[in-house]
Amino acid sequence: MAAYRSAAGFQRVLHAVKHVCFSKQRCGVIICRYSTVYDPTEKTFDKILIANRGEIACRVIKTCKKMGIKTVAVHSDVDSSAVHVKMADEAVCVGPAPTNKSYLNMDAIMNAIKQTGAQAVHPGYGFLSENKQFAKRLAAEGVSFIGPDTHAIQAMGDKIESKLIAKAAKVNTIPGFDGVVKDAEEAVKIAGEIGYPVMIKASAGGGGKGMRIAWNDEETREGFRFSSQEAASSFGDDRLLIEKFIDNPRHIEIQVLADKHGNALWLNERECSIQRRNQKVVEEAPSTFLDPDTRRAMGEQAVSLAKAVKYSSAGTVEFLVDSKKNFYFLEMNTRLQVEHPITECITGLDLVQQMIRIAMGYKLQHKQSDIPINGWAIESRVYAEDPYKSFGLPSIGRLSQYQEPLDLRNVRVDSGIEEGSDISIYYDPMISKLVTYGKTREEALKKMEEALDNYVIRGVTHNIPLLREIIVHPRFVSGDISTKFLPEVYPDGFKGHMLTAGERRELLATAAALYVAAQLRSQKFLGDLRVSVVPAESRQWELCVELDKGVHMLGVSRSGNNYTVEIDGEKVEVSGEWNLASALLPLTINGKHRTLQCLLRTAAGEITLQYLGTSFKLRVLSKLAASLSKHMPEKVPEDTSSILRSPMPGSVVAVSVKPGDNVAEGQEICVIEAMKMQNSMTAAKAAKVSSLTHIHKLIHNPPRYSVHHKSI
């Protein structure tokens, strides 16, 4: 493995007594994403409490296990059978489902620490990871916080202060207002001074929460209101700041690692430009955009910032990079980032292990010259969300079937859920981080396609269609990306994969072949039969396949498992095992290997196939049934234009209308909060509100919330 060979250089420096390779081992080939190389004689913590949930809690526990450290999980009551709870040696329930009563409940977590005797706490990301109070309380109790010191969290956690420090450390910064904005009117005034567009963001914020872009005064006022609400609910701190919004930038961040002895390293960059609503979707390391000089300049500035705040532990310095490779300091995240695995892939380091060592007070093991860039790693964030609505609105549900593509080589999946898990409205809707690795970017991208095609997720709506489209888009493939990639590439919203004529034929042929395979199987009865079965002998089928209102007549012939499908004079050869129970359909279509997924197959000929990431609804009928279907009555779907339905589950935080009100088109009806995002629901047409029904505090299913408004 490439990452390994050149990493050997710095490994030799270590006393690599025990060497555990982590991730999947298969067929004797070691597939290594990062290595936890540790010295058992090096004293470490006996027990660590992980103050987090989901995939990051699992990720931390994995390294702890390798290092021989006992682990304590904390969980809310709904998470009592979650994966991280099962993985940990001990688990403590810290409260009910809402995060402010459980994962943000410092008292309960402090009690859990006392109760279990944990010596250190790894906070993961989010929740209490950048909470200085928490770090202080831990320090007061003599418990180590696996992260930077309180002053660094405080300095970097405050966007205003961090900017001042960055300026002082000679780090490039964005022009803006270096102070707290008092109210919406002041925001408008400042915005006028800086010049539009401006970015309004929570001083305490991160992860895109409490962040709004405004292009005019009106949007500034609205943005101020939303951001301060979100900031208050997410961080308990509604202070906002404003800065110049750099249009069309790239988001590139530098991973730094610093110890308590004044040593700091930069572990290269991560390109995180593919975002929706300021949240990252696809990340890669390294970036296609940086040349070694820019990389070094950014790395050195990042390290000097880390040193300026006496930073210790792993941290990330985020930069905006414009088209001329000018880079501006954005913020420093004083925690382990979601996207840390891609850095681990290209450097071979286990960042969690490094954080634990640093928290123990050890010096860094590596020198800057030891840090390699080996190969290329891509990370796709697989979310339970509907990519057809604003590139992803959260969805919830139970994972009725779930299968990670782990039998593929060079694939790493960081997840904290399993088949049967519930994706609830209480927490982040992330299903997993799918990471693929290759010697080259091309190889890593190819692997990502394969991994996405082989990823089985049923029961919740997920964003694989979008991920699959991004990674094959010519602009992404060529590296021509920016933070506006999604709105630029899909100005009218994401619509799924657009089939070429050839792909369309492949899809139709597959559906037809699948239909015939199922038909043939339904004639196979086993055992002794009193009345013999007389199967309808046929080698030829004439079928009619509907796809997107297009109707195609197909001729199908079969020999064994091979089907030849004739569509409009063109022949498509489809062959495979035709295992009708399997979620995956590995096929060879015209000599090309393709993995499709059959999401639905009904007795009435409806077949839904996931092909190239997108699911397509088809209907296969015999020629006879198709010719008769013209007589079937058209069913008129219910008119829903006068009903406002929440597009996602969440809780209603504000209702701005009451029955009898007249509303204008686009007027706000209510605000739904889901996964810490506030979403304004607006009227689709001018109307009078006739009734407000089903306003529950929590909405579990979209149709449960409906506001009827009828036209005037």
Partner: protein, 556 residues
């Protein structure tokens, strides 16, 4: 008997017999001769100056066009297919063998004896054919001929195939689309209904009988579907009622539409008369083909086994976490069913009626099984009148046709209250108890959570000859929930909370049942499929008989 109004205006059209042959041209029939041969043999013996061959030809053509092109067009316009088109879709290609194509009605009153009022085959198409290669007897009422009304001849044709189906041992499928009795025939038509009813009753429990209502079915006619094992309907185009809206209005002054009175929605959600409804004719017939594969041909045959791609020993990890921690929280029993059965395929019977119990067909390692499960999502999964009757009828069908029954139990008890008591929950609840107790097919029971009180006994318990009874670790087999029990045991005493905790510790777990052998094992939920598949293999040779009796006396 219901009314049928004749549209005489277009009858004369048949004389021409020049109708297009297109829509029916593909129907093969035995002994058909080529046109040229007919012409060669043409000899003019008859008064009509046509040879016998020509007359055969002519009659067959007439039979194939039913009530004629105009009527066929009208049928299509209503969104309905013709009797023959339906059979073509239902049966395997080229498998239909038609009986009684030359039968005509025998009525001579009201001008019915006239040639133009005679239709070869009359208002029903009958015969046998194959569905996925398996034998089935079918009749399909032809609405284009006298509105599908039932004449003596029509009934006789249906009786003929039913008699043969019983002798051969093959199911009967009826496609109903009939305005009612042939009023012109009077009592002969009524006699015809009774002949069919008798055969429905005689065939009950001998061969599966399925009715698919694809148009009106009113008056006495409704009792034939009601006597069959399964009644399916087509949404928006089918109706079942004793009397139509006009009579209802005149008798009770109640205003009601056909759809409200006896449409698919009414019967699948309110009355429980129909077992499933489908979108349209094509959808219904294709689904019926699929459904047919679950059924054995007769009570002499074992449950069918089809080729299965789903591994029999597949673990279902999701089941380990499906039952919520809090015993008051609901979950969806269908998630358990889908997870366990082959390929997540579950043909639910009455999915929208008495939803607190789930019943339907599925396969385990290819073999048909009947699934019964309490649904905690609806009314906590309690047993009430409707769910007891729904469950009982399903269990009895499975038992009659050698289909093993798998029961998933999460039942807090019978629903209390005046509505239930006045409605006779005692009598109706007894039906489910009766059905489980008398069943001699393999019975496997899995207690997923609550099994309280009498409802525990009812739900295929060990005491009712359950063959294999499992409990999940989350099972609570007890007389009642902790709170209620403590209020009785420690009435008026202090420290109820402590007593409640003690009760939970003692009874809210599978041990009290397991130590007594009332459950055979406490199993890891994820292994449930594997265990059931293995048990079914063993139980395939189960032989159990009830004492001889003329027939049992279920509390109806």
């Amino acid at each position: 008997m219901a009314t049928y109004t004749l549209m005489r205006s277009s009858l004369g059209l048949l004389h021409g017999l020049k109708c297009s042959f297109k829509s029916v041209g593909q129907i093969p029939y035995a002994g058909a001769l080529t046109r040229s041969k007919v012409l060669q043999n043409a000899r003019c013996y008859s008064v009509s100056h046509l040879s016998v061959q020509e007359r055969i030809e002519q009659k067959r053509k007439a039979a194939l066009t039913g009530g004629g092109q105009l009527r066929i067009a009208a049928q299509h316009k209503r969104g309905k297919l013709t009797a023959r088109e339906r059979l073509e879709l239902l049966l395997d290609p080229d498998s239909f063998v038609e009986y009684d194509m030359f039968v005509e009605h025998r009525c001579s009153d009201f001008g019915m004896e006239a040639d133009h009022n005679k239709y070869p085959g009359d208002s029903v198409v009958t015969g046998q054919g194959r569905i996925n290669g398996r034998l089935v007897y079918v009749f399909s009422q032809d609405f284009t001929v006298f509105g599908g009304s039932l004449s003596g001849a029509h009934a006789q044709k249906i009786c003929k195939i039913m008699d043969q189906a019983m002798m051969v041992g093959a199911p009967v499928i009826g496609l109903n689309d009939s305005g009612g009795a042939r009023i012109q025939e009077g009592v002969e038509s009524l006699a015809g209904y009774a002949d069919i009813f008798l055969r429905n009753v005689m065939a009950s429990g001998v061969v599966p009988q399925i009715s698919l209502i694809m148009g009106p079915c009113a008056g006495g006619a409704v009792y034939s579907p009601a006597l069959t094992d399964f009644t399916f309907m087509v949404k928006d185009t089918s109706y079942l009622f004793i009397t139509g809206p006009d009579v209802v209005k005149s008798v009770t002054n109640e205003d009601v539409t056909q759809e409200e009175l006896g449409g698919a929605k009414t019967h699948t959600t309110v009355s429980g008369v129909a077992h499933r409804a489908f979108e349209n004719d094509i959808d219904a017939l294709l689904n019926l083909r699929n459904f047919f594969n679950f059924l054995p041909l007769s009570n002499k045959d074992p449950a069918p086994v089809t080729e299965c791609h789903d591994p029999r020993d597949r673990l279902v990890p999701g089941l380990d976490t499906i039952v919520p921690f809090e015993s008051t929280k609901a979950y969806d029993m269908l998630d358990i069913v889908h997870g366990i059965v082959d390929e997540r395929e579950f043909f639910e019977i009455m999915p929208n009626y008495a939803k607190n119990i789930v019943v339907g067909f599925a396969r385990m390692n290819g073999r048909t099984v009947g699934i019964v499960g309490n649904q905690p999502k609806v009314a906590s999964g309690c047993l009430d009148i409707n769910s007891s009757v729904k469950g009982a009828r399903f269990v009895r069908f499975c038992d009659a046709f050698n289909i093993p029954i798998i029961t998933f139990v999460d039942v807090p008890g019978f629903l209390p209250g005046t509505a239930q008591e006045y409605g006779g929950i005692i009598r109706h609840g007894a039906k489910l108890l009766y059905a489980f107790a008398e069943a001699t097919v393999p019975k496997i029971t899995v207690i997923t959570r609550k099994a309280y009180g009498g409802a525990y006994d009812v739900m295929s318990s060990k005491h009712l000859r359950g063959d294999v009874n499992y409990a999940w670790p989350s099972a609570e087999v007890a007389v009642m929930g902790a709170k209620g029990a403590v209020q009785i045991i420690f009435r008026g005493k202090e420290n109820q909370a402590k007593a409640e905790a003690e009760y939970v510790e003692k009874f809210a777990n599978p041990f009290p049942a397991a130590v007594r052998g009332f459950v055979d094992d406490i199993i890891q939920p994820s292994t449930t499929r594997k265990r059931i598949c293995r048990d079914l293999e063993v139980l395939a040779s189960k032989k159990q008989t009830n004492p001889w009796k003329k027939h049992a006396n279920i509390p109806l």
